[in-house]
Symmetry: C2
Subunit: 331 residues, 2 copies
Amino acid sequence: MNNYKPYAIGLDIGGTNITGAVIDKMGEILEKISIDTNPDTNPDEVLERIYKMMNELLDKSNVQIDDVAGIGVATAGIIDSKEKVIIFANNLGWRNVPVGRLIGDRFGLPVKLSNDANAAAIAEWIWGAGKGCQDMIYITVSTGIGSGIISNGRMVTGSGDSGGEFGHISINPYGPRCSCGNSGCIERYASGTAIAEWVRSELKTNPQRKTVFGYEKESLITSEKAWKAAEQGDELALKAFSEAGFYLGIGITNLINLFNPEVIILGGGVMKAHRFILPKINETINKRGIPALTKRAQLSISFLEQEAGVLGGAGLIFLDHQSLSNYPSYI
Amino acid sequence: MNNYKPYAIGLDIGGTNITGAVIDKMGEILEKISIDTNPDTNPDEVLERIYKMMNELLDKSNVQIDDVAGIGVATAGIIDSKEKVIIFANNLGWRNVPVGRLIGDRFGLPVKLSNDANAAAIAEWIWGAGKGCQDMIYITVSTGIGSGIISNGRMVTGSGDSGGEFGHISINPYGPRCSCGNSGCIERYASGTAIAEWVRSELKTNPQRKTVFGYEKESLITSEKAWKAAEQGDELALKAFSEAGFYLGIGITNLINLFNPEVIILGGGVMKAHRFILPKINETINKRGIPALTKRAQLSISFLEQEAGVLGGAGLIFLDHQSLSNYPSYI
């Protein structure tokens, strides 16, 4: 019997796009397709479009289904990775969708399910900035803040698949209220939402503030706009990213003290502005961390950013113990 | 060949006492001996006394050395568990002492080395309040605050054996300075030292404060005294423990969000006052935590307190994979 299955299909199900890719064990993407999610339609309709996309992927890449080891799905929201059910995904409007069973039955393949931050961590771990590490942390700074943590060569999932909520670490019990019920969460200081809020509030208290970038309409200020303003040297925007970097530095120092990692990888949309954020993160870690721990911890930008979701999905399949024991030389 | 070795020797090397015990796989202590550490003498002299104690333990328990699977050492300070070296133990005054090699050579047995918080976590995990869990956190609240974390059925040690520094999680970047170089560490709010400091500072600002307990000499106030005062209903002492409980609650909520554990076990000298601390911890977690995570996380008092060090040492030996595969039915 030939168990050699050199490919996996990675699926990244987001609120805006769904991306699928056929990926080999070296992390090479043979073929990739993105479709609109249209989350307003029901899950069955979305899944039918996913099946169609997957067949197209197999056709285009000229890969036989018998050569596919499995399908790995990365998705936002609350999931049950054992039962492979999306419990609740706010941006999809999905509740209790057993994607593992549905997709698995359709293609006759094993399915793995992971949240998107954990999937991105897996991808960086196998093929990206965390390659060869036993202890690494991936942090995504976007609208919110999430993380995927590898400790002793294993994903920290926790008892209910809900570990790694770095965005909801409180660094000030008397800080601003967070939607999670806590106060002073990192997400309230350093997410894209928080950065935009900070700029808005500074403009409100200093309406005369001169900027090279036009902040004409407060409600339209986003962290993306602040990034572009920072690129033009706008001081307010530069200060906004430095503030975010300070609080990320506080939070990352906490993670270093808990996990003693070799590398911390930063991804997510806000990290496009990494050159305005990283210096302050580094400064804060160096000033506040325990030297024996911080000297081991390397800060890095995500290597795989746009493809981290689909690659992480494929990684889930390749990391499966049975696959690993069949092809030990590949990873 | 008979590989059946039903016993281990646990050693708990502290700054005041060294305790050794012969322990079986059910966690039963057959014999236990404590000696003074006398840290002023050199390591060789202390080790000679340890060897003598271990021979005495074997004699008294009537256990043959051939029936001992190994020696597990729990110690304070910075260690290298792979090389089995105590890198630096402040309370012992030891630097770079290769206890693993020295003790191992003397008895011809495998040696394992762990810091004391991790050893206590192992003990609670195998035989105590964390029995049967895959995800648990042990926290020791004493002069300082430490922790040992089990995630996915494995100890979180980190890349340099220095993970689990819960005491040095900052929950306020602008809080009081900590000896670690950071500000606002949990240890500065909720350790025995911090509790005593809080009482002293309250008395300084309110010298007229009536208490049932005599706080005559400020410099002599300890968390132990505050505990006894709380037992007598002293309001200041009760407030001190409630404050500590609040900050522990903030820190534990952070841990729950990161590790999604099934149980959090609290030990250490300060937890003698648990009935004055736990209610506030619980209240804070319930108010601030994410319900899906907090509902899974049970708070518990340490089951093994006094013996956690030696039991953890023995646990390190029994958890060794080779031992486990020989006696799978025991643990």
